[in-house]
């Protein structure tokens, strides 16, 4: 799917990965997150070469270093909003309740903490997913069409909160999106077309 994609991203940079549906944006993000493997080539994160890592080591990387925000939110339906937010931090061993509370507050989720995800709107669910990712303080945040399932107004709000929070933690952010409006708000933009960088 991807052919000879080569790029480097600096720490703290925010990058938009744009392209049509099927251009390989998601695949690139999945490879970067260690969820899929590249047929050839190298992906190194924070100096670690991903292709040399086994499942457990990659999982470990996703636990604390790389955070992912999915288009489908991928919340755990049987956990409450607060448990979902705290979930990744707990996995990473970075449980920090005041910070979790603060995140929820800033993302406008304070009133929903004891609800289950199914009771929330799409925008709220995505904010829960963002809070979950950021609560674990990853060095890199990968977001795959994070606003793809949201209406325009909600999308703008969610994006703003995400950019603010990422900016504060100094994490690197890569957002795969087909929306120019979204791409424009990031530091840099890379366009993927037919599996090659344009």
């Amino acid at each position: 799917m991807l052919k000879g994609v080569s790029m480097a991203i600096d720490a703290g940079e925010t990058l938009a990965l744009t392209g049509e549906s099927g251009s390989g944006k998601s695949t690139l993000l999945h490879i970067a997150a260690g969820l899929e493997s590249a047929d050839a080539g190298r992906v190194s994160v924070d100096g670690l070469e991903l292709s040399t890592l086994d499942d457990a080591q990659r999982a470990n990387l996703r636990k604390g270093t790389i955070g992912i925000v999915f288009q489908q939110f991928n919340l755990i339906p049987s956990l409450t909003v607060s448990a979902n937010i705290a979930f990744q931090a707990r996995l990473a061993g970075k449980t920090n309740t005041p910070q979790t509370t603060e995140l929820a507050e800033r993302l406008g989720l304070s009133d929903h903490l004891n609800k289950y995800p199914e009771a929330l709107s799409g925008g709220q669910q995505q904010r829960v997913a963002i809070a979950r990712t950021l609560a674990a303080r990853p060095k890199i945040v990968l977001a795959d069409e994070p606003t793809g399932n949201l209406d325009e107004a909600t999308a703008a709000l969610v994006l703003t909160s995400m950019l603010d929070l990422v900016g504060e933690t100094g994490a690197t952010l890569i957002v795969a999106t087909h929306s120019m409006r979204t791409a424009e708000r990031l530091d840099r933009r890379v366009h993927l077309s037919g599996g090659v960088l344009a």
Binding site: H30, A33, L35, E36, D55, A56, R58, A59, N60, L61, R62, K63, G64, I68, F70, Q72, N74, L75, I76, P77, S78, L79, A83, F87, Q88, R90, L91, A92, G93, Y116, R132, N149
Partner: protein, 794 residues
């Protein structure tokens, strides 16, 4: 690692908190499978222990016994006189003490194991002999209320206490002996009983030996049920655990994406499964205990029927069956979970998040299943053709049942496809297409139903065929209206003369035991006549068999003997040093011994010293005949037996033997219904996306729920259609292979269409009950739940 596993485990477990009904069905499924298995095991264990205890304590059926002729006790002098004349007998004193049956034995002369008390390091002989100890079960010990030391011995039959004969004498205040047990091997030459102790009569073991065979077949019956319940149980466990996995496939994907390694996922899942299995097994064993306790009175009734003895079967918590309960719960869970874990491990992290995906099995997997089914069925055929022995028989049974179960989804699929193709209107077409989509999801539950129905058809056909055959056999064998038993050879001719003078036909029966072809067999001499010609049915015979028998030289053998020594009509059997032609094979149900029947003249020529000790007499008025014979010969009442008595006793014993079968029938069906209920309930949630469009297109919820019920009933009906031939095949195997291997006779198979119709209706009712709840839930579902399907769609 530990933190990750714990966090993942909590996430997995949170699923159950949100889906309590699923938790209930999952644990319920495990529990019910365990319950059925451990319940049957418990009954088996208890029955085995009970009749071992009963047999060993009571000795009835094991040994010949000497009893006083009059209602009296046996003097010590008589015992000593018998011993000093080479009669190896062992004395028993018996009586009631505080409601407990107290049995006094002489451990020096009693056969080993008779007492049910193992004399070993735990019970040294002096305790028994001189120490005054009494051995009893816990309950009987409490009841005895004696100052003598009472040792608790769980191997004894309930309500029985065993002690040394000297102590029993004192406790019961009785000097005389109640009966004498005749030891199996006796010294070579000893005088006749009538010369030493004419006041005693010999109660031969053969009168009760038949019951041993009944017991064995009762046992086989239970074992078959145990195996079938095991199969059904494994199916249920497999299906519930499988569902639990499928429902959380998306969660597992999320967990992995969030950084839980595959290994951690697996460890967390295994821990979860162990917790579930623990709960399920514990509840199941408790349920099994209840089932067993509820059925045990029937078993006790059976044993009372078999032994005519006090067996108040109380259930004990025996390690072997509750451990086996845990074993099946864990084994079933492990088998089910291993497959699912393997799938998770071999799949890409992000694949297959949607739960419905599991229902659509790949063509390859289905092809493999059909192939496996075909292999199993071919294996069954080969085993039927070439296998020998009981193990091969049971293996064949297993192959056949499993093969049929695995072929079920393909069978249902084709059947539904056929119906779909025949449907013109849109609604039926949608109905069948939708049904077909559901088959994979329901297949395990439907397989369980198939096995349950087939088992019921098979076992009830076997039992009913046995009953029909047995009653027919009794009718032919018990043709004479009156039987007379003579204890002394000297009295034989007088009795015969009295009978001949008064009866329509007299049938003297000569009998002795000889070694023939390496087997201890009973040799019988009979007077060939109208009764035998009219009533005896041959398995195989030459046309002029009775003439040959009458002329001498030729003999008849029973089926057991013929099969054991592998001889058949026309072959020759070595008897009294010469080969004799085998002219007929006769069926002889329930007799453990081989038997060879000769004509009276030939018998007398070979064994001139024998006299007939049994007579059958044909008469219109048995009572009058008995009076006339008694007035001339002075025989006691006990020498006469009315045919009707034997017949009704035999049938009663038979029916008691199989009482428990009926209860188990209902139980297996209930459990199959439960399996269906769990599958349907789980499916209901997953099926909303499929039902919503139909609803949107104008089908009301009432219609939808009615169609759901109809669908389940249609599938159950198709399962019934397949279960009938499978059940009949099962019955055929039980009657023609298992029975022959186990007991040495082949039973003819009878069909009971009425029973099958009743069973099918029962199966449909249980399917209906299983579908009731899901259907009502669908009826009451809020429209916005259906609407949400569209809202969530992406």
């Amino acid at each position: 690692m530990t933190r990750t596993v714990l966090t993942a485990l909590l996430a997995l477990l949170s699923h159950w908190r949100r889906h309590r009904l699923q938790l209930l069905t999952c644990i319920g499924g495990l529990a019910i499978a365990t319950a059925l298995w451990s319940g049957v095991q418990a009954i088996n264990a208890e029955a085995r222990a009970s009749y071992d205890a009963a047999a060993s304590t009571l000795s009835e059926g094991q040994f010949d016994q000497l009893l006083p002729r009059a209602n009296d006790t046996i003097a010590l002098g008589t015992y000593v006189a018998l011993r000093r004349n080479g009669w190896l007998v062992s004395p028993v004193i018996e009586g009631r003490l505080n409601g407990v049956r107290l049995i006094g034995l002489d451990p020096l002369t009693s056969p080993h194991g008779l007492s049910g008390v193992q004399l070993d390091e735990d019970v040294p002989l002096p305790d028994f002999l001189g120490g005054g100890a009494i051995f009893a079960t816990r309950e009987a010990a409490a009841q005895l209320d004696t100052e003598l030391p009472v040792e608790v011995s769980p191997n004894l039959a309930p309500g029985i206490a065993v002690t040394d004969i000297g102590i029993a004498q004192d406790l019961l205040g009785q000097r005389g002996l109640t009966r004498l047990i005749v030891i199996e091997t006796q010294p070579a030459n000893r005088p006749r009983l009538s010369e030493i102790a004419p006041q005693l009569r010999l109660l031969p073991t053969q009168q009760t030996a038949d019951l041993g065979e009944m017991t064995a077949s009762f046992h086989l019956n239970l074992t078959a049920f145990g195996l079938l319940s095991f199969a059904v149980g494994i199916f249920i466990v497999h299906s519930t655990i499988g569902l639990a996995f499928e429902q959380r496939r998306a969660m597992i994907r999320t967990l992995r994406a969030l950084g839980v390694s595959l290994r951690a996922v697996i460890v967390a899942t295994v821990i979860e499964m162990v917790i579930l299995a623990m709960f399920g097994a514990t509840i199941g064993i408790a349920l099994g205990y209840i089932i067993a306790a509820a059925l045990l009175p029937d078993v006790a009734a059976t044993l009372r029927g078999l032994y005519g003895a006090d067996v108040t079967g109380t259930l004990q918590l025996r390690a072997d069956w509750w451990l086996s309960g845990f074993a099946i719960a864990f084994a079933g869970t492990a088998v089910a979970a291993t497959g699912k874990l393997w799938q998770i491990a071999s799949m890409p992290i992000l694949a297959g998040g949607r739960a419905q995906a599991w229902a659509v099995r790949t063509c390859r997997a289905r092809g493999l299943q059909v192939l496996a089914a075909a292999l199993l069925l071919v294996g069954a055929l080969l085993l039927a053709q070439f296998g020998t022995g009981l193990v091969a028989g049971f293996t064949m049974l297993g192959c056949m049942l499993l093969g049929a179960a695995m072929a079920l989804p393909a069978f249902l699929d084709s059947a539904v496809r056929f119906l779909e193709a025949r449907s013109q209107a849109v609604k039926p077409q949608w109905f069948w297409a939708d049904t077909r989509q559901q088959i994979p999801a329901l297949s395990l539950a439907l397989m369980a139903l198939l096995l349950a129905i087939a088992a019921n058809i098979g076992v009830s056909t076997m039992v009913s065929s046995f009953r029909v055959t047995f009653i027919g056999f009794l009718d032919q064998r018990l043709a004479p209206e009156l039987y007379v038993f003579v204890e002394e050879a000297e009295a034989s001719s007088a009795v015969e003369a009295a009978l001949v003078a008064n009866a329509d036909e007299v049938l003297p029966l000569y009998a002795r035991r000889e070694n023939v072809e390496g087997q201890l067999v009973e040799i019988e001499g009979i007077r060939v006549g109208r009764t035998y010609r009219d009533n005896w049915r041959f398995v195989a015979a030459e046309s002029n068999v009775w003439e040959q028998l009458q002329r001498g030289k030729a003999v008849i053998a029973n089926e057991q003997f013929a099969r054991r020594v592998d001889l058949w009509v026309g072959d020759r059997v070595q008897l009294a040093g010469e080969p004799r032609r085998l002219a007929g094979i006769v069926s002889d149900y329930g007799n453990p011994m081989g038997q060879i029947t000769l004509g009276e003249g030939f018998y007398n020529a070979l064994y001139a010293e024998d006299r007939a000790l049994r007579f059958g007499a044909r008469t219109a008025d048995p009572a009058a005949l008995q009076n006339m014979v008694q007035s001339t010969t002075g025989l006691p009442d006990s020498a006469f037996v009315d045919q009707r008595e034997i017949r009704s006793f035999s049938i009663e014993v038979f029916d008691r033997t199989f009482t428990v079968t009926g209860a188990l029938n209902i139980l297996t069906l209930t459990i199959a219904a439960f399996a269906m209920l769990t599958s349907l309930l789980t499916l209901a949630e997953l099926r909303l996306p499929q039902l919503a469009p139909a609803w949107a297109l104008g089908l009301t919820r009432r219609e939808l729920s009615r169609l759901e019920m109809l669908r389940t009933l249609a599938l159950a009906a198709m399962v019934c259609v397949l279960a009938l031939p499978l059940g009949l095949a099962l019955a055929w195997v039980l009657l023609n292979i298992i029975n022959v291997e186990a007991f040495g006779w082949r039973l003819p198979m009878f069909l009971f269409p009425w029973d099958y119709a009743r069973l099918s209706v029962l199966a449909l009712i249980s399917a209906f009950l299983a579908t009731l709840w899901p259907a009502v839930r669908l009826l009451r579902i809020a429209p916005n739940m259906l609407l949400k399907v569209f809202a969530n769609e992406s």
